[in-house]
């Protein structure tokens, strides 16, 4: 067993063994979700707080359900209805939550490094549920889980991430996770959204979609993050759909067993054709199911990451 961490802040600092430990644990938790009784007492009596300073529905629900299935008590905290609106700092908000004896705090924030900041003074475990354009570790873990489950391995696979890379924390976390596990990652999209600097993370950058997807075993599509762009990075949505959208003609030129992934929410007709989103090669809904298992595994592991390694027989 190689997991001995109290927090999950990013993928960048994890070893390949630690990533694999999460994926292996998640497999067992996925089986729990398929039983008649979908609940285990692993986090009985623990308090989990969803501190979502940036709005989110799918990630929050996934974490909430994951905590509930581990028998934890869950409190949802949203920025709109909080004292942050009354001028309280993030640090004070977090300290107040800890004063309520929270054991695990899951944070989403628009500022890069917010989870790292909290982890420096909180006794509770901190899980990053997305910090700005920096990282979204559980998304990368669930993507890696889905790839490994479908393909049987990750090492040696060609993974193409297509879309808005610059503003995407999903892309950054995926690049870290997949390259650590031995996949070959290709990035593609409008040049304004896929700067060459990403080559330093160990990926290939190309602006030719057909070339980017020709040898791909996995195509991971990313949504245009309008909410993060300060100005328009390309002429129009229609032009983006024409130049970079995954349509039937493009899909016909890919490997027959290519997997289509998308972290959601999908914009039908923009980055992905409606028919493709629903086709047999699309694993978009499996990603949602696997996300629950991966988040259960992460909650389980950080809860245990506080003591010595040995487990009594």
């Amino acid at each position: 067993m190689t997991w001995n961490r109290k927090h999950l802040l990013d993928i960048e600092s994890l070893t390949p063994d630690e990533i694999t430990a999460v994926l292996d644990t998640a497999r067992a938790f996925k089986a729990v979700g398929e039983r008649a009784i979908k609940k285990v007492p692993a986090l009985r009596g623990k308090t989990v707080i969803n501190l979502f300073i940036e709005p989110s529905t799918r990630t929050r629900i996934s974490f909430e359900l994951a905590a509930l299935r581990l028998t934890a008590d869950v409190i949802n905290f949203s920025a709109e209805a909080s004292s942050l609106k009354k001028g309280e700092t993030l640090k004070d908000t977090a300290r107040n939550l800890e004063a309520l004896n929270a054991d695990i705090i899951i944070i989403r924030h628009s500022a890069t490094g917010a989870p790292h900041f909290l982890s420096r003074f909180l006794n509770a475990s901190v899980i990053n549920a997305g910090d700005g354009a920096h990282e979204h570790p559980t998304q990368a873990l669930l993507d890696a889980f889905t790839i490994r489950e479908r393909k049987g391995r990750i090492e040696g696979l060609n993974v193409t991430i297509l879309g808005d890379i610059l503003y995407s924390r999903v892309a950054r976390s995926n690049i870290w996770a997949l390259t650590k596990l031995g996949a070959k990652v290709t990035l593609c999209g409008p040049s304004t959204l896929v700067p060459r600097v990403f080559e330093r993370m160990g990926c290939r950058v190309t602006y030719d979609v057909d070339e980017a997807i020709a040898d791909a075993d996995i195509i991971n599509l990313l949504r245009i993050q309008h909410e993060r762009q300060r100005k328009t990075m390309f002429p129009s949505i229609n032009e983006y759909a024409t130049l970079f959208g995954l349509n039937k003609a493009r899909l016909a030129r890919t490997k027959p067993d290519v997997l289509i992934m998308h972290p959601g929410p999908i914009n039908r007709g923009v980055e992905i054709d409606s028919e493709i989103a629903d086709c047999v090669r699309s694993v978009i809904l499996e990603q949602v199911t696997n996300g629950l298992a991966v988040r259960m595994a992460v909650l389980f592991l950080v809860n245990g990451g506080k003591g010595p390694q040995e487990i009594a027989a």
Binding site: W3, D24, R35, N303, G307, Q309, I311, A312
Partner: protein
Amino acid sequence: MGQFDFFMPDTTVILSPSTIQRALARIAHEIAERNEASADVVLVGVQRGGVHLAQRLAGSLRGIWGHAVSVGTLDVGMHRDDLGRQAAPRIHPTVIPFDITGKTVVLVDDVLFSGRTTRAALDALNDFGRPKRVQLAVLVDRGHRELPIKADFVGKNVPTSLNEQITVRLQETDGEDVVRLEKK
């Protein structure tokens, strides 16, 4: 500590390959003797030590009863009572591909010690159904129980002290059948 330490080795073999085989054969016969309704008996090996022992017992019982016996595996990691106090345990697959409701479930484990693993196993089993009864078979009972739990079938009772540990090695996972008592 004195000049006779030489005569007190740190490792003692408690069960050899042939005694392990005999102990399992005897346990299989005891299970058969105790459960006349053989069609209702299923075996569940506790991860990891009990999994292969359950498989072997199922093989013996098949020979005794003349019909196959269902075997499952159970990981108790999610049901332990020391979670959060120690590093999270490695979770192995739980596979129970049959309904245990109304059945006689024989839990199989390698070593019975504090009883906490068995308690967790009883809890975990509850999530899969309501067995008619649960029995416990272990290869070694080393004492030091912390809970009111007792094995129904025991390969060998071994009095131990708390600074000793029992190591079970099986052909399927370690390439040899042997049980040793070791000083920590």
